[in-house]
Point group: C2
Chain length 182, copies 2
């Protein structure tokens, strides 16, 4: 038997409320806050998701899908460095705007990650491999290093300062290998 119409609607509302609450407050956002933003009761959330962890994973899956668009764009770039650096800047922007992504990488360490997140990591690895082949990216770097290096765009108080784009450029400078012209 299919879900009732109101159940379908409410499930979507819960996901939207969760995305909004987690983006603003991080994974620590109370379930009650998610319920408030979704306009539903707490009980409704727990009917659709077994626990808060499942809700976090569902949101992670969704946000990862959005980030995957940046991977596509990076692979479409002709220049491997432009691809990698563009992806890095775009992910930094996403991290700065969505506090939840901050906590997501930690979450991934504890649980079987959302499927889209794994695809995001793999796609990032592809972009990195291409840069390595072109010899423009510091050796030894892989996709697992990206979240750590994005940490500079994390801390809310510094995001307010709007200085994180500078930090991103510093790191990109440090990651780039200059190819001598010949």
């Amino acid at each position: 038997m299919a879900l009732r119409a109101d159940a379908v609607r409410n499930r979507e509302r819960v996901l939207e409320g969760a995305r909004s609450a987690f983006a603003d407050l991080g994974a620590d956002a109370p379930v009650e806050e998610v319920a408030r933003r979704a306009g539903v009761g707490i009980g409704t959330i727990y009917r659709h998701f077994p626990d808060k962890e499942a809700l976090l994973l569902a949101v992670l899956d969704h946000q990862s899908q959005l980030c995957l668009a940046w991977v596509e764009a990076a692979l479409a770039e002709d220049d491997p460095w432009a691809g990698f650096s563009g992806l890095f800047r775009a992910l930094a922007q996403e991290f700065a705007e969505d506090r939840f992504l901050i906590d997501a990488a930690r979450l991934r360490r504890r649980t079987d990650a959302a499927e889209s997140y794994l695809r995001l990591v793999q796609g990032t690895q592809d972009v990195i491999d291409r840069a390595h082949l072109a010899g423009v990216l510091r050796p030894g770097i892989d996709a697992d290093d990206v979240p750590a290096l994005l940490a500079v765009a994390w801390e809310p108080s510094w995001v307010e300062d709007e200085r994180w784009p500078t930090y991103v450029e510093i790191i990109l400078d440090g990651l780039r290998v200059d190819v001598p012209l010949r």
Copy 2:
């Protein structure tokens, strides 16, 4: 009237327990855990410190004094870049070993900081000014940027990876301005 002998001893024990607990578990370490490590009751902690915030500030003050030694060493260096980069590496090491320092920068934003911490920031600024004068440090960087850039040494799960020293070198590469020989 002076403190009683046991009170003096216990105050020191509390500070040691707090340093240990906060270093391992971060500022979130429960007060009860501090009491356990100190070998005292919870009540004793609250006799010596009005609240947990005061305890955090006392520990911050102490750890800042240790870090100040690195500032002295940096200023004693002849080469401004060696001084700055040495300080940066040393602070990264401290951050990696003491989870509490991670939270300290946030704490500073909320409260009047410990006096030693202000001196640490000022000393770091001196080291940075010297590097700017020599033209070897990327313009626009100041002492407030250092904790943000050290964020790569923060996250516990990445500290375990032992990859943070690589990240520190990447950032230093990005911060350095190469002075052409003439």
